[in-house]
């Protein structure tokens, strides 16, 4: 069964059509990278899946359920999101913060149980933040914080994980580290990952499948080799680039043509 199915999804902001008959089917255990230029509808797509914007009826199905008819709490049981950046205005300990990921599974007066604690511990050990459990979330660096957010998303125990440019604020080490963590976890739990990434080369290295967006619809979907090539880059980004094979991964690697050339 597909974990996320989007059927002919359109969305307007006023007169402006942002998604135009978007259609795609995503399967469990796969890492999907959503690529596309600014304004191609990536964020609007995520917001429709999250129900932050109201999607049309019978357009978005998450684990077989129509998102437009699912309550926000039910949705949070199967869908977790890691945003680009999270502002920390309050002094929570890292452990308490990660435990908030259990919220969708708890009733109003129910307290976190020992089982919830064990789940938090496992996720925190997996992401390497267990040693900071008593530290305040405000005292963390950007990379540590993003790992805390990912641990929280894991504790939420979702079927689908959305990542909205999760690494754009991180240094190179943390970019790789975060993507590795997510990839391992998705393999282990047979989780569907949908990541919006701006770095096409990282997307190509980590994604099982690419969704290349143009003008609010899927321009190309498939394995990196099938999607990332000189022709598609020209058509979608309007940019000439050289596409090589990454000698380490065997995946396509792009080098944009820039003004400066070395003289031979």
């Amino acid at each position: 069964m597909s974990s996320l199915r989007i059927r002919n999804l359109s969305f307007h902001y006023g007169d402006q059509r942002v998604l135009d008959g978007f259609t795609a089917t995503l399967h469990p255990g796969k890492f999907y990278c959503v690529l596309g230029p600014n304004g191609s509808g990536k964020t609007t797509l995520l917001k429709n899946i999250q129900k932050l914007l109201a999607p049309k009826k019978e357009a978005v199905y998450l684990c077989g359920k129509d998102v437009s008819e699912t309550s926000i709490k039910e949705l949070a049981k199967v869908l977790a999101t890691v945003p680009q950046e999270t502002s920390m205005t309050f002094d929570f300990s890292v452990l308490d913060y990660v435990l908030t990921g259990r919220a969708p599974h708890l009733e109003r007066f129910q307290r976190e149980s020992q089982g919830d604690y064990e789940a938090a511990k496992e996720a925190m050990e997996h992401t390497g933040i267990w040693p900071y459990q008593q530290k305040s979330v405000r005292a963390l660096s950007g990379g540590e914080l993003q790992r805390v957010i990912i641990a929280r998303a894991m504790v939420q125990d979702p079927r689908v994980l959305l990542l909205d440019e999760p690494i754009s604020h991180l240094d190179l080490y943390h970019q790789i580290h975060v993507l590795e963590l997510v990839k391992q976890y998705s393999r282990k739990k047979n989780l569907t990952v949908v990541a919006v990434l701006h770095d096409i080369n990282l997307a190509s290295a980590y994604g099982d499948e690419m969704l290349l967006l143009k003008d609010g619809k899927v321009f190309l979907q498939g394995e990196p080799h099938a999607v990332i090539h000189e022709q598609s880059m020209q058509q979608v980004y309007g940019m000439d680039c050289l596409v090589l094979e990454n000698p380490l991964t065997g995946k396509p690697h792009i080098i944009p043509h820039t003004g400066e050339r070395r003289k031979i």
Binding site: L52, S87, T89, F90, S93, D96, T100, P104
Partner: protein, 352 residues
């Protein structure tokens, strides 16, 4: 330390402080013009408890003291505690909901609306157009709710209620209500004293009859607000993040604004405008115990009650037999404390 590991500690601390509050309230009954010992006070209370009465030796306290204690001081102290509790819990919740340290129970204009209602009531009573003992209270209540409704309607954008819009609409409507009060004051100099006294707040007119409905109401709504503890925590990491964790943000906002407004409208209609309690008590608790709403809300309730009992006791004993309006006492003690908080925030570079 994390909340998960400290749950039991908080429970003990809460019970300890609760006992402290009860003792403080009994102690407060002994203070005043008629001199009573702590023992006499305790004895009078113990006699009211059916089973305990049989075990006690007969009271040696004169009957008139019993009346002073039971009919005058006790309702007043209980009202002070109830008002302090309601204002502090609502203040804590709204500071969290608005993510704004300056938020207080009156942020949506409840106070000025109530004041306008009360002023109108006092004026109309003075002119003989309206009659009846509850007129001012009723008018204050209606004024408070109408104002909040107006602010809410102005701030609403479709199905959403942006917090910034609420604050701005609250400021505008409050200014308008204050202007109308000034005009009323000018036109009715005879009742000016009464209006000014009402706006400074007092619990002197406390009666058991009022307490019978106000106390359960404030306790019930405090408990209701407490049930939003975890949700308020989630909202602190942003509305979108809270949504992602299963919080229906707009619905939560509406429910919390509704229960807060009703609670404050009831409190204010009985006590007048008592400032600063709902602002500084939550900040004080937050500084000592942290910002987790599962801790902040119950301890704000206790400390709010304690602070109001303390302030009101000062209000009626400090310049006895003259009485200082309790709103003036809370501000007198609250303002310097608030300024201290501001200085601290400047030094640390962050607020909450």
């Amino acid at each position: 330390m994390s909340y998960f590991h400290k749950k039991n500690l908080y429970r003990k601390l809460f019970l300890g402080l609760f006992l402290g509050l009860i003792l403080a309230m009994v102690f407060a009954t002994t203070l005043g013009a008629a001199d009573l010992s702590f023992r006499d006070s305790l004895h009078i209370f113990a006699e009211r408890i059916p089973l305990l009465r049989r075990l006690l030796p007969p009271s040696t306290v004169a009957d008139k003291y019993q009346v002073i204690l039971w009919q005058v001081r006790m309702p007043r102290i209980l009202l002070a505690a109830t008002v302090g509790m309601g204002l502090s819990v609502v203040g804590a919740a709204l500071q969290g909901l608005f993510k704004n340290p300056m938020a207080d129970p009156y942020i949506m204009g409840v106070s000025s609306g109530a004041a306008l209602g009360a002023s109108l009531g006092i004026t109309l009573l003075g002119l003989g157009i309206l009659q009846g003992g509850f007129t001012v209270q009723l008018m204050a209540f209606i004024g408070a709710l109408l104002t909040v409704y107006l602010v809410y309607e102005i701030a609403k954008v479709g199905h959403r209620v942006p917090i910034t819009m609420l604050i701005l609409a609250g400021v505008a409507i409050s200014a308008m209500a204050s202007a109308m009060i000034s005009i009323l004051l000018l036109l009715n100099r005879d009742q000016a004293d009464q209006i000014i006294f009402w706006t400074m707040g007092s619990v002197a007119a406390a009666r058991w009859k009022q307490l019978m409905w106000l106390m359960p109401l404030v306790m019930g709504s405090s408990l209701w607000i407490y049930s939003y503890g975890r949700t308020l925590n989630l909202l602190l990491s942003g509305e979108d993040a809270a949504h992602g964790l299963g919080v229906d943000v707009e619905k939560t906002k509406k429910q919390l604004l509704f229960i807060s407004s009703i609670t404050v409208a009831f409190v204010v209609s009985v006590s007048g405008i008592i400032g600063f309690v709902g602002l500084i008590v939550p900040h004080g608790v937050r500084l000592v115990l942290g910002g987790d709403h599962r801790v902040l809300l119950p301890f704000s309730a206790l400390m709010g009650a304690l602070f109001m009992v303390f302030s009101d006791t000062l209000a009626r004993t400090l310049l006895a037999p003259m009485e200082i309006p309790v709103g003036a006492v809370t501000a007198l003690f609250g303002a310097p404390y608030f300024i201290f908080l501001l200085y601290r925030a400047k030094r640390k570079g962050g607020f909450i």
